[in-house]
Amino acid sequence: MNAQFIVDGLIAGSMIGLGAIGVTLTYAILRFANFAHGEFIAWGAYLALAVVAAVPFGMVPIGPFSFGWMLPIAAIAAALLTGGLAILIDWLLFASFRRRGSATIIMVIASFGASLALRSLLEFVFTSKPVYFTRELQIAMPLGGGLRATPDQLLMLGVTAILVIAVHLLLTRTAIGRQMRAVSENPVLARLAGVDVRRVIRTVWCLGGALAAGAGVMAGLLVQIRPYMGFDLLLPLFAAAILGGIGSVPGAILGGLLVGLCEALAVQTVGAEWRAAVGFVILTLVLLLRPQGILGKAAT
């Protein structure tokens, strides 16, 4: 076995973890599994691509990286736009179901519908042909112990760490974070305690969408951009969110890293064709053995 799977797994896990944060927050606060979340990843990548394509400069590689200064700007713009898109989808679709007090299964099915619509729209506008932020080649640097990683990969790991810490601090040290946790625990009580639940819901969508865009840009930079990129990540996203414990941001990232490592290990040991099965196996095992996940709290 080659230890390189650790680097590969951590990088894949970072992308999964960032996406899983949105899944876990949406699930904890709105109490339904949003199957459209994967599309926010793809939309984030394409929106960043659109910004990069619209500005004919700023993509000359900086230092050891494969991209120019325009990509971080495009990523921030894509995060804002994807956050806005998530709020728009909620306003157009899920909010009306909430007002009617619709059952969870209706919300889930609606999210399937939203997922199909968003993906089809991407295919319509951008076609199914894979595209890239940059075609610069990067040589992986030796990290010691036989491990190698490209500068882009190492940067993405660092960015993921910063984003996760920032979200964790937001949830634990700020008023909106506490309100999100309060709504997650008891929405009725939170409303009676003076929490603006609608604002909390908007914040969750915005934050989830923005982080999904981050994962999309990362995936686009390290792999490729295509309309199905988010859909293909959906099962690992849910596996990571449930493995980490629903509602837990550190849990989502830990779950993402574990799923990523297991996927990379599976590629090395049983073959790349089994990679997609890893998320499903982890999801099944966690639900059977520890439904509250690693960092989640058991229902009392």
């Binding site: 008023a175 003076g194 914040t203 709290k297």
Partner: protein, 293 residues
Amino acid sequence: MTAENGPRRNDGQAAAAGPASSRVAGWPGANGQGTRQNSVPALAVTDASIAFGPLRAVDRMSFQLDPGGMLGLIGPNGAGKTTMFNLIAGSLKPDSGTIAIGGVPVQSEAASRRISRGLARTFQIPRPFAGMTVLENMLTAPQGQTGERLLGNLVRLKDVRRQERAAVERAEELLEFLQLSRLAGEEARVLSGGQRKLLELGRAMMAEPQIILLDEPAAGVNPSLLDFIIDRIAAINARGITVLLIEHNMDMIKRLCGRVLVMASGRLLAEGAPQDVSRDPAVIEAYLGGAPA
């Protein structure tokens, strides 16, 4: 029918409440200002009614409460007291009648809007956010903070930090006032029933209310804690916060309230000083089962 709070029974008691009841920064009246500066009632309920099917849970209730006053609301189980609270707090909307806070009609406003107008409440069965710490529970209540907005946390970090520090300081002072300081870092699920009542009182106070609705603060509380709760309510009222109190414990009512309203079958049955209404034959009849409970 109108009832204004009479001479407040707690005036002397609050002064004698001891050091812990004296100064909490930012409280209304914390600088010794009077409590009856405004002629507009803090709370005015006029002909409020609500029915659930054939049951008229609250039937043309009217009363007023002056700023800084304390009024007891008593009555047998099922009299409509908590429903009256729900109408005032905004959990329910009246079928008819008006509810005004500081002279502003609020009967069609959402509960959260009424909180921002300075109304806070506690519940008969205290409901903390069990998975959050006692301090975090307190910090969910402050209104209008910059940190409540995602963008505010990104672009106005200095304001967020300043407000956060102020909120934590105030929460810690209130926890000390309520003798919950040692539990600040514990999850609220570990609190006893009485401690949960105190936490709810603290959370309500964190919203810096002008009016506070207390729903049976003595229910299920052991006698040793009861005196402490009475003392804290008196101290809160002595700071100029208007209090409307539902309670079955007549000793508590007599110690805190100069005037009470008695409800039965959704209607105002009697009003007056606690010792007077407790001798009123109609009230005795209602409590002993003469009127439907």
